[in-house]
């Protein structure tokens, strides 16, 4: 038993940290530190910087551009990325559809899509949830009917993150209406420029637009755009959702938030002292730091087990990472809100992120509102509790 990182891993941490600091546009870094939105260009540029370095898709098999790093190194890479902070990789390509394509796709799909995902030549979005299918995803109704050598897709997807930027969407569609719920679903790749697709933005309570509804009205999709076998899409979706847990804890990001809270709470005055010297505030922050430390260690246990015993089925214990990770992220937005005091109130539509000095307060309440999502998405925390109860405790 040894919780310390090896010399090589420590050196690796230094290497990635230096690379991130030296190669990330300071303007983008500042936007992230202050909680402003980053633009499409910010993300694409950063992904291409990583790709040039060979770090675009570290966790992929080396033949498709992966780095072959150990689980511990992958962990360090992500933590440093979040701590910098640098733009997080858009998950829909590198974490979701990419692994599905290299695991279940055909040669043509691999050759065409994988390099374009790594270089972010295509912006991907995810077509899973529907208005009537949230936690009960397998009840989805969007259909794809065979017609000659095409699929005709009809239906509606929702909560489609950043669909407004997307070139492609990967969709779960019902291809066998007579089969049992899970067994009549296929995994289909659809060009967002296709005729019959309408994207309608959903404004969230923070005032932002990051999710959308996507409507499919007799959309014609080439037959070869199906991944793997027809009616096996549910298996691929489960595989994809399992991979999603890898980075769900967001430990590095929460560390960066704590740094920011301490920074701001040292400036904001509460009486004749900075807020950070208020014992009650300090204790609340310390309590969250302890929660985060426990989460970090728990994540390291999951990572170490994976490194040692191989990546098999996702560890059901990783549901803890989702639950605690999201709770901590939410608590930190709450503490940030407390730091802001009355200056949380003014509503300022998000500009270009180049806000003037002294405008640090404007993104804080919106972020707090927005972050209620983290205990809802990716399998709500209640679903995670169901997973623990069933898969771990055998209830």
């Amino acid at each position: 038993m040894d919780l310390s990182f090896s010399k090589e891993e420590v050196a690796f941490r230094e290497e990635v940290r230096t690379f991130f600091r030296e190669n990330l546009d300071p303007v983008v870094r500042k936007k992230l530190q202050e909680g402003h939105h980053t633009s499409k260009e910010d993300l694409v540029n950063w992904q291409r910087t990583l790709n040039k370095k060979g770090w675009a898709v570290p966790h992929w098999p080396t033949e498709y551009g992966g780095t072959g790093w150990s689980a511990a190194k992958q962990y360090i890479f992500l933590e440093e990325l979040q701590k910098t902070p640098a733009p997080p990789p858009l998950p829909f390509g590198v974490n979701m559809v990419g692994p599905v394509i290299y695991t279940f796709g055909n040669e043509q799909q691999k050759k065409h899509f994988l390099p374009r995902i790594a270089n972010m030549d295509d912006w991907w979005c995810q077509g899973f949830s529907e208005p009537g299918s949230g936690s009960d995803l397998a009840s989805l109704k969007t259909t794809a009917k065979k017609k000659g050598d095409t699929w005709i897709v009809n239906g509606q997807k929702t909560w489609t993150t950043l669909a407004q930027h997307a070139d492609w969407i990967f969709c779960l569609c019902r291809t066998d209406p007579d089969a049992k719920k899970q067994s009549g679903i296929s995994f289909i790749l659809i060009d967002m420029k296709s005729k019959g697709i309408t994207v309608r933005p959903i404004q969230t309570i923070d005032g932002g637009v990051e999710v959308n509804e996507v409507f499919f009205d007799d959309v014609v999709v080439p037959a070869e755009n199906i991944v793997g076998e027809e009616n096996k899409g549910w298996d691929y979706a489960k595989f994809l959702l399992g991979n999603e847990r890898v980075n769900i804890a967001r430990v590095g990001m929460s560390k960066e938030r704590i740094r920011r809270i301490k920074e701001l709470a040292s400036i904001v005055m509460a009486g004749d002292k900075p807020l950070i010297e208020d014992p009650q505030f300090r204790q609340k922050l310390a309590a969250t730091e302890i929660d985060l430390k426990a989460l970090e260690l728990t994540q390291m246990r999951v990572v170490a087990a994976e490194g040692k015993h191989g990546k098999g089925k996702p560890d059901p214990a990783s549901s803890i990472l989702k639950i605690k990770g999201s709770e901590i992220q939410q608590t930190l937005t709450e503490l940030m809100l407390e730091v802001t005091g009355p200056f949380a109130l003014p509503f300022q539509p998000e500009g270009d992120g180049q806000n003037e000095e002294g405008d640090w307060a404007s993104p804080i309440a919106p972020t707090y509102f927005n972050y209620r999502k983290v205990s809802i998405y990716g399998g709500s925390n209640e679903i995670q509790r169901n997973i623990i109860a069933k898969a771990v405790l055998g209830l």
Binding site: M1, L3, K255, A286, L295, T298, R301, A304, R385, L393
Partner: protein, 380 residues
């Protein structure tokens, strides 16, 4: 980064688990409690035979030179089985002081601990000291080559059966001064020592002890009579680390018996474990247990930190997590059991009680949270 036990550590775990499985079921524990002194000398003898009592001491001192992970393994097992024998008091605390004591003191006392013939108790708590280790009214007045101790100590774990008491007393300074605190070895049968023993809430024993002009020699002082607080802090941190591991073991078993119970217990024609309200509580208990386990690992690792401030802060953070998790798991275990959870007959209530008392020892969650906050947090 590796969280697996080594081959030797696994063997140790198997042997402790094996011993306790064979001899420490719920009914046996009741009998041990009723024995003279409130625990089983036979079990203590078996601990000695298996080498558990010599685990943390160097081979030169006749021990096995094992590290903090080995102690963690033992403490978790003791927690799982609600063991009431004085391992914490004698091996972890008593042994903790002796490991930092002079060669003569080690030679005089360690063989007795290792072979199981002698036990120790740590007399630290005073009427007004609460969790402040440096808050000491008991005095140690210089007298000839030695010292004369006077004062009162409370809730001394296994204080009524220990052969030797390790007593904090003030040789200089005011009640709460860091300087002036010393640590003294006092034979329990020394003249002027008055011991009143009693049962504790969790089935173990403790004692309130009066010291009335108790004479000890110069060889009774561990370290420096005026600068003993640093040792006390380190040894108490050893104790906290051990309690964290014990709590993890107790929580693990509390969750296990609770899940077993709700799988068996039927209401409305079905096992109550099929109800989501209960499933979610059980899932939250699992989360509380595993986050506590992570912090217990970290605390055990911190045991070998050379930066003592960092060591203390890490242990404090672990005790916060353990305190919160233990409270939740204990209370929830009782809740899942329903009415039988508050009866003496069922095991869960006993786990709940032990977990509750661990929180009251060497600082509760709020006490340690204040320490972590005062130190500026623990995020690097």
């Amino acid at each position: 980064m590796d969280f697996d036990l080594s081959e030797e550590q696994r063997l140790l775990k198997d042997s402790v688990d094996g011993l306790l499985k064979a001899s420490y079921d719920f009914e046996s524990r009741k009998k041990y409690r009723a024995e003279q002194g409130g625990y089983s000398k036979t079990i203590w003898g078996k601990f000695a035979e298996q080498g558990l009592l010599g685990l943390p001491f160097s081979e030169d001192d006749g021990g096995f030179g094992a590290g903090p992970i080995e102690t963690m393994i033992v403490m978790e097992a003791l927690g799982r089985n609600l063991v009431i024998e004085p391992y914490l008091d004698t091996v972890v605390l008593g042994g903790g002081f002796l490991r930092r004591a002079s060669a003569e003191q080690r030679a005089a006392h360690l063989p007795g601990i290792i072979d199981g013939s002698k036990t120790f108790a740590f007399a630290q708590v005073e009427r007004d000291s609460r969790y402040d280790l440096g808050d000491i009214k008991t005095t140690a007045k210089k007298s000839g080559a030695g010292y004369t101790l006077s004062g009162e100590k409370f809730v001394v774990g296994h204080g009524d059966t220990a052969d030797t008491l390790i007593v904090t007393a003030r040789s200089a300074g005011g009640q709460r001064d860091a300087k002036g605190a010393g640590v003294f070895l006092v034979p329990a049968d020394a003249k002027g020592v008055d011991i009143r023993g009693y049962e504790t809430q969790d089935g173990s024993r403790a004692a309130d002890i009066k010291f009335d002009n108790v004479e000890v020699g110069a060889d009774a002082v561990i370290g420096d009579a005026e600068n003993g607080l640093a040792i006390v802090e380190q040894v108490v941190d050893d104790g906290r680390i051990a309690l964290c591991a014990e709590a993890v073991g107790a929580m693990e078993e509390a969750l296990k018996v609770s899940v077993e119970y709700i799988k068996e217990r039927k209401q409305f024609g079905v096992a109550i474990g099929s109800f989501q309200a209960l499933q979610h509580r059980a899932a939250d208990m699992f989360t509380a247990l595993e986050t506590a386990r992570s912090m217990s690992f970290l605390a055990s690792m911190a045991s070998s930190f050379t930066d003592l401030a960092e060591r203390a802060k890490t242990v404090a953070a672990a005790k916060v997590q353990i305190g919160r998790s233990a409270r939740f798991v204990g209370q929830s275990g009782v809740q899942l059991h329903g009415g039988v959870g508050v009866t003496m007959e069922y095991r869960i209530g006993h786990y709940f009680k032990r977990l509750t008392m661990i929180e009251q020892q060497f600082g509760d969650a709020d006490f340690h949270l204040r320490r972590v906050a005062a130190a500026g947090g623990i995020t690097e």
